[in-house]
Every structure is written in C-alpha cells, then in structure tokens.
C-alpha cells in the first residue's frame, strides 16, 4: 500500500520569509573562470512582471555529471527570487552534454522550476544554451512546434551573458513540461 503523495500548494506572496535564507543564485563566483551569467524576467499572461516568484535551476556540471558524482562544492542547484520588476539572474557554468534514457544526446540545457504566488504547483521548463548545430539535433526541441522552440533558448547578449524571459501565459507562453 502506497502512501498518498502530499499535494502541492502555492508559495504565496510571502515566500521570501522562508526561501531567501538559503537562496543562492551563484553556483560559481561571478567573474570566476568560465562563469556564465543568465538573466531574465518572469512575466504573467498580461506581460506584467511577477515580483513574488522564484526560479530554481538544476544542471549538470561542465562534464555532464550530477551529484553525488560531482566534485564539491558543486551542487548543480540554484535559487533566485524575482525582484520588483520580475527579474532573476544566475551565475553558473555551461552544463555538459546529457543523454536521454533512449541514448539520444541532448543539447546543453538547465532544468528549471518556476514557483509564484498564484501558482498552485511549479511549472517545469528548461533553458538551452545558444548553439545552432547542437540545438538542431536536440530530441526534445524536435518535438516542439518551431514557433515555440525559441521560448526555451537563451539569447547571447554578450559573451558569457545570456538572457531568457519566462512567460507563464500569453502570446509568448514558454513551453512547459509535464510527466
């Protein structure tokens, strides 16, 4: 007999009280060797910023490994609460290649969970690094309508400086995944 999974509930408007103390958006020190800056905004269906949201990321290290197979202090995990303009930013390293269970190689990407007041459960998405050749071969992107793929691919504003917005709803709604 299996126990009933505990249902998800919203983080509510006061999430900062509980979730800021262990928030760490810098997986590596800004400015350190190979550091990659990823920033963006969390937006609602009307295009308004979501100031009471949180993004959590989890990703492979540059060799494509996850804990416990990584070297300390790499956790692969980052958390950033959105600011008054809905902005978030992370400093990390470019993730290495990771295969699907089928053996197909995926383009380098970061797993993302989005939480906010008004969201009763997190939305699951992923951010791909720019790189046309690898993106063209990615088995997950291949399943998405061409017009919506761009919502998952970060834009390089400058070297080592990526931008990606998350649209919860609306014309530019980000692609979200279910199980």
């Amino acid at each position: 007999m299996s126990p009933i999974p505990t249902p998800s509930q919203t983080v509510g408007p006061f999430l900062a009280i509980g979730l800021v103390p262990l928030a760490n958006a810098d997986l590596v020190a800004p400015g350190s060797d190979g550091a990659l800056w990823i920033e963006g905004r969390l937006l609602d269906g009307a295009g308004a910023p979501v100031p009471d949201g949180m993004l959590e990321i989890f990703q492979a290290d540059p060799l494509g490994r996850f804990p416990p197979h990584t070297e300390a202090p790499w956790s692969g995990f980052g958390r950033c609460l959105t600011d008054a303009e809905g902005r978030f930013c992370f400093t990390t390293l470019a993730p290495g290649p990771v295969r699907l269970d089928s053996g197909e190689l995926q383009a380098p990407h970061i797993e993302v969970l989005v939480f906010a007041r008004g969201m009763l459960r997190p939305a699951r998405t992923r951010w791909y690094l720019p790189g046309e050749a690898e993106l063209a071969l990615d088995p997950v992107l291949a399943r998405i309508d061409e017009g919506r793929r761009a919502s998952l691919v970060a834009f390089a504003r400058a070297p080592a400086r990526l931008v990606i917005d998350v649209h919860l709803q609306g014309e530019h709604e980000t692609v979200f995944f279910g199980y």
């Binding site: 505990t6 983080v11 008004g118």
Partner: protein, 268 residues
C-alpha cells in the same frame, strides 16, 4: 470584483470539501486504516490544476498550452544535496530565535519525509515559513492590521534524520484575511518547502490544522479536488508528540511521490 468566481468562495472545489470538512481530525486517514492506499486516489487528482476555480491570482499565471509530456531525465532523477551544513542548531525552533519568547500557543510539529513507496528520505532539507499568532507575516508586503511580534520571524529549517523524521517547535499561526474575494480568510497554515532524493521530488505545500472551520471557504485548500488527497495536507493532533505542560503536538507526514501525472484539469 474582477473575476466571476469572486464572492463564490472555493468555487467548484468547495463543493467537494463539504463532504469531508466536517469529519473529525484525520478522519479520512482513519477510514483507510493506518496505511492509506494510493489505490483510492487517482494520481491525477493529487496536485491542483494551474488554473484553479476561485483562486484569482492563478488566472493570469497559469499556462494555457498543453504541457509537453517528458519523462524525468537523468537530471531530474538526480538531486541537489542540500542537507548538512546549511542548518543551524536552533533553526528548527522558531520560539528561540530572539531574546524573548513569541506570543501565542506553542506547538510541536513532527513528521516523516518519505517517498511514494513509504521509504524514509534521510538528510534532506525542509524549510518552513508562517504568520505569527495574530495572523501577520514579518514581510513588508503584508498589510493586515494585526501586530507584528518582535520575537517571531516565522522562518525555520531542519534536516531529516536517518529515519526521515523532522521536528519543528513553533507558534500556532493565526488565520488572516486576504483580498481574493469578499470576506476571504485563509485557514491557519504552515508553508513547507521540501527536497526529496531527486529534483523531480521537489515540493512546496501547506500544512493545515485539523477541523479548521475555514476549509470549506478556501480556494487554495480546495484547489486539490480529491477530498482524500486534501486530507493529506491536514496535520493530525497527536498526544504522543504533545509535551506535558509545554506544547500540543501535531503529526504531519510528507510524501514526495516522484513524477506527478498532469492534473486532469490541465489536459486541455
């Protein structure tokens, strides 16, 4: 009122609530015996839909495209190791974080973190946050006309033990009004943030108190459609956890079930 559900507390979900809200504390669990059976609950009714009836804030923050089904990858079957080293010795005791004692009724909240097969999850981080006894959060956005308590921040953390157990000592939070609809009040609750073994286990939820008269009117509680799943968010009073002449004890077991199927309502 800018939403057609406003003023109709709970919306569709509340109808389902009425057949359980009047049961004795922990009754749903009791009816199923000590080991509740997932067989009684459709897994697609465990989690709430993104766009929930009566919860106004979900209207513009709910994805409208169908979710793309993607089984958990190697990434999501792994997980960050966030246990040891991040939690101080008094982080689990919200009544001892300031020079004085907070106002309110002390409570002990204890439980077990397990996976969907009932196996304990050891060494993982649990974060907690809540309103004070007067129903006010120590947060600049909270404008409820109730007093702040200089001896209460409402934030706690702990790491599960080898048997998956965790324990907090805190103050019973007050109910509080919110702007969702006319005369809207949230039932008393604690916010829990939980990491399991894998990123796919990540869970944020709310723990409620048994017998709360506000259950029938709360669209967040009732966003979980299945009445038995809803009871899984309600702690049980437990005399064994109650400390004589000190604090009432509540048991709240947390089950992170691994990948959750997409709720029925989101299959558009």
């Amino acid at each position: 009122m800018d939403h057609d559900e406003a003023g109709r507390p709970g919306g569709a979900g509340a109808r389902g609530a009425t057949d359980r809200a009047d049961l004795a504390p922990g009754a749903a669990r009791h009816l199923l015996g000590d080991k509740t059976a997932l067989g009684e609950v459709d897994p697609r009714t465990i989690d709430p839909p993104y766009d929930a009836p009566g919860y106004r804030s979900s209207t513009r923050r709910s994805p409208r495209h169908p979710l793309l089904v993607l089984p958990p990858s190697v990434a999501e079957r792994a997980g960050p190791l966030l246990g040891e080293g991040r939690v101080g010795p008094l982080d689990h005791d919200l009544t001892r974080q300031h020079p004085g004692e907070p106002i309110g009724e002390r409570i002990v909240v204890e439980g077990r973190l397990s996976d969907g097969d009932g196996r304990p999850i050891a060494g993982q981080l649990i974060e907690l946050w809540q309103a004070n006894a007067a129903g006010r959060y120590a947060h600049h956005v909270d404008d409820h006309r109730a007093p702040l308590d200089p001896n209460f921040s409402g934030t706690g953390r702990c790491v599960t033990g080898p048997d998956g157990r965790y324990r907090f000592v805190t103050i019973r939070p007050g109910e509080y009004p919110w702007g969702n609809h006319h005369n809207a009040w949230r039932p008393a609750h604690l916010h829990f943030s939980v990491f399991g073994r894998a990123f796919v286990d990540r869970l944020v939820t709310q723990m409620y108190f048994p017998g709360d008269p506000l259950f029938a009117y709360d669209p967040i509680f009732n966003s979980v459609n299945d009445p038995i799943a809803r009871q899984a968010m309600v702690a049980a009073f437990d005399l064994r956890l109650t400390e004589p002449a000190f604090a009432l004890g509540y048991r709240f077991d947390i089950v992170v079930g691994g990948p959750r199927p997409t709720p029925l309502e989101d299959e558009r």
